[in-house]
């Protein structure tokens, strides 16, 4: 796959959630340029074109949206968000935080660090699928990303 064309970067360590999100986006023809990484460390390497993505990724080709799970091993979603939003080369990339718990006190923290949106994953299958569809339509088709 050509990494410069990636429009959705899905950062998700939960296999089932990633699988379901990808399948739902595929159903609506929005997964052609989706790329999935399994933790925050790899997400940062991908976005900044470092580590295993050093020669294959150009930081100038920003995804249209980053879907960022909060609870992840190695580097969690909040640290990843912080690094993206503190660097002026990447801060204009829309980042949508995904979390499983509604009572999460992280919501204010995420917004104050510059998260563009904060979504609580619906618990049931249909609700989650509908949320992913809505999210894909919004960030790929309604929202205007930064034009290069």
């Amino acid at each position: 796959m050509n990494f410069s064309l990636v429009d959705i970067l899905l950062v998700e360590d939960n296999f089932d959630d990633a699988e379901l999100a990808t399948r739902e986006l595929k159903k609506h023809n929005m997964a052609n340029n989706l790329f999935h990484v399994k933790d925050g460390a790899e997400a940062l390497e991908f976005i900044f074109g470092t580590g295993k993505y050093e020669s294959t990724r150009d930081i100038g080709h920003a995804p249209k949206v980053v879907l960022l799970d909060i609870q992840m091993p190695k580097v969690n979603g909040i640290e990843t968000l912080q690094k993206i939003k503190l660097d002026e080369r990447t801060r204009s990339i829309p980042v949508v935080m995904l979390t499983s718990s509604k009572e999460d006190p992280d919501i204010q923290k995420c917004y104050s660090l510059g998260a563009n949106s904060y979504i609580v994953k619906p618990v049931n299958f249909e609700g989650f699928a509908a949320a992913i569809k809505n999210l894909g339509f919004y960030w790929l088709l309604t929202n205007q990303p930064l034009v290069k």
Binding site: Y118, V120, N134, Y138, N143, Q144, V147
Partner: protein
Amino acid sequence: MNANLVDVLIVEDNPDDAELTIRELKKHTKSAKFFHVKDGEEALQFVFGTGKYSGARNVSNLPGIILLDIKMPKVTGIEVLEKIKSDERTQLIPVVMLTSSNESPDIKKCYDLGANSYIVKPVHFDDFASAIKNIGAYWLILNQNPSR
């Protein structure tokens, strides 16, 4: 109406666009409370509870979301965005920028100032209506706002 309990603050000087926006949002989000102001100066007075909203509005009752037109008389949408996002009392309010032009300098500037989303208003009525529907479905139903 109670100016302290507003789900959507619509800042729009064009009466046709404002009417269409409110009508579409009402159609798809039955219980949401809307408030419409016609320029950036009034938007700031509303958000910060100053000027004509002094006494009627408390700054800590954040609107759920602000739909903010860019080109407006007196104070532009970009100036309003900057003031909201640089004040810690109001910076968590999700702000969606709306513009008629598809010029990239504004896009980067808005994202850098902390805009949560940037929408180019479609020219045709039906497309504009469906964009507003998507905005409502996303920000009023799916997204978790910091203040609610």
